[in-house]
């Protein structure tokens, strides 16, 4: 036992369906640092099998209710859900309340993990693909990622799926909001949820009109009406997800999307690393000295930035 790599053992257990092992791996990859890098690298070896579905939309539109039901109707043996909610920028704490809606109507048997955004946006752009990779390597499929579609980062995370589902509710307000947040461009499938409310058909008509204007060939996003609390329309939604998956395969778009996703992640990782380094050089001794000179107005902000940047550069080229 001792000679075995503990990481391999954890992955082995997670693949075999041990939820605790999978839970631990997700914690490890979420923390960042050396352990996270090892887990991520190890997961990368086995990932790439799962279908990734993003579900996004304005707050309270019914994303969690839909997601829990979707996992149930998928008929998959090991569905997983990653539910992302914002951390409080002030305290770093978070209330992660998505599970309550996912479990309350059906027992999907899904592995559900709640994730807080934890600090700055760049971290999320790396943490989410890492968590998805771990779930994928553990044999989960499909993997459904729920994010609130408010910020650019949240939307782009949902958009970094194979299939992106955008949820709106009846009433013009939401469609306009969705438009503003850039949600309409990323949608592969639209859901008008809360179809039990008046004017769901009107909302569908509005969306159709918008699609008529913006449609660019290839795939036209279908619109599905659902009443998630009752489970109505959810199997239709799953059927649309499956036909989008088929479309991705036939058209070669799946490969293109996944390539783009990996390329974007490379840039996101560099960005995160660099922003960590910026934080370091501003907060170390010479950084603090430079900042004090800026305080006394002996040094312009631009000159201070240049000065500190040069220390960043020398980190990059230790020989020079």
């Amino acid at each position: 036992m001792k000679s075995c790599d503990p990481l391999d053992e954890l992955f082995e257990a997670a693949r075999g369906g041990n939820r605790r092992a999978l839970g631990k791996l997700l914690t490890m990859v979420e923390k960042r640092g050396e352990t996270a890098a090892m887990v991520s690298e190890r997961a990368h070896r086995d990932a790439g099998q799962a279908r990734i579905v993003g579900v996004t939309g304005a707050p309270g539109t019914g994303k969690s209710t839909i997601t829990g039901r979707l996992a149930a109707v998928s008929g998959a043996s090991r569905p997983a859900i990653l539910a992302i909610d914002p951390s409080s920028p002030l305290t770093g704490g978070a209330i992660l309340g998505d599970r309550i809606r996912m479990d309350s109507h059906v027992d999907s048997g899904a592995f559900i993990r709640s994730m807080a955004t934890r600090g700055h946006a760049g971290g999320l752009a790396v943490a989410v693909p890492d968590a998805v990779r771990v779930l994928d390597a553990a044999g989960c499929d499909p993997i459904i990622v729920e994010t609130v579609g408010v910020g650019q980062v949240e939307v782009s995370i949902a958009a970094a799926a194979d299939t992106t589902v955008v949820v709106v509710t009846p009433g013009w307000g939401d469609a306009v909001q969705a438009n503003k947040a850039g949600l309409l461009e990323v949608a592969d499938i639209f859901v008008v949820n809360k179809a039990d409310r008046p004017d769901a058909r009107g909302a569908r008509r509005d969306l159709e009109l918008m699609l008529d204007l913006g449609h660019r060939g290839g795939w036209r996003a279908p619109i599905v009406l659902t009443t998630a609390t009752e489970g109505e329309g959810i199997s239709d939604l799953w059927a649309e997800i499956e036909s989008h998956t088929a479309h991705l395969h036939h058209s070669g778009e799946l490969i293109r999307r996944r390539c783009r996703r990996r390329r974007d992640e490379v840039a996101d990782r560099i960005e995160l690393e660099l922003s960590d380094r910026v934080h370091q050089i501003v907060n170390n001794e010479s950084g603090e000295m430079a900042l004090r000179r800026v305080d006394r107005n002996e040094l312009s902000p631009a000159a201070a930035a240049e000065l500190l940047l040069s220390t960043l550069d020398s980190d990059n080229h230790p020989e020079s």
Binding site: G23, R99, S114
Partner: protein
């Protein structure tokens, strides 16, 4: 009795201290969750990640959530007289699953019952008059004692 080879060498990146993750729930058929929501906000404001399960949970559903969420601590709210049976049952379920997650009880628990609950393995009891700081330090204390007992 040992859990799978986790933690020890691997999960200690001291430079990235992760927030405490607490699963918050109410066992049994109690009516409302106002108190629980207040506690959720209190813990969030103290920098914790609160996985909110809400009402009508079972020991099984709480254990399942703890595994998937890799929770550090369970917070249970009790507002009926069931705490003397329900709380030990929760502790037992956690033990049987092989989890090492402390259970903190809050709600209306008579002071006389506290020693019994502690004896049965409950990590801390938060009384009805507890302040926000009391709640936070009870939860944080339970986690710290779990990591390094005594």
């Amino acid at each position: 009795m040992d859990e799978p080879p986790v933690d020890t060498s691997l999960s200690s990146d001291a430079e990235f201290q992760a927030p405490i993750r607490v699963v918050l729930a109410k066992l049994g058929l109690d009516g409302h969750d106002r108190g629980l929501k207040v506690v959720a906000r209190t813990l969030r404001d103290a920098g914790m990640e609160v996985i909110y399960l809400g009402l009508r949970q079972t020991t099984e559903s709480i254990v399942a959530a703890c595994e998937q969420e890799d929770a550090d601590v369970i917070g249970l709210s009790m507002h009926n007289a069931g705490h003397l049976t329900l709380a030990p049952r929760m502790v037992q379920a956690v033990d049987q699953a092989g989890l090492r997650v402390p259970v903190v009880i809050g709600g209306i628990v008579p002071a006389d019952d506290v020693p019994t609950l502690i004896d049965s393995g409950v990590a801390a009891v938060i009384g009805p008059g507890a302040s926000a700081e009391d709640v936070v330090s009870a939860v944080r204390g339970a986690v710290e004692r779990q990591i390094s007992p005594r």
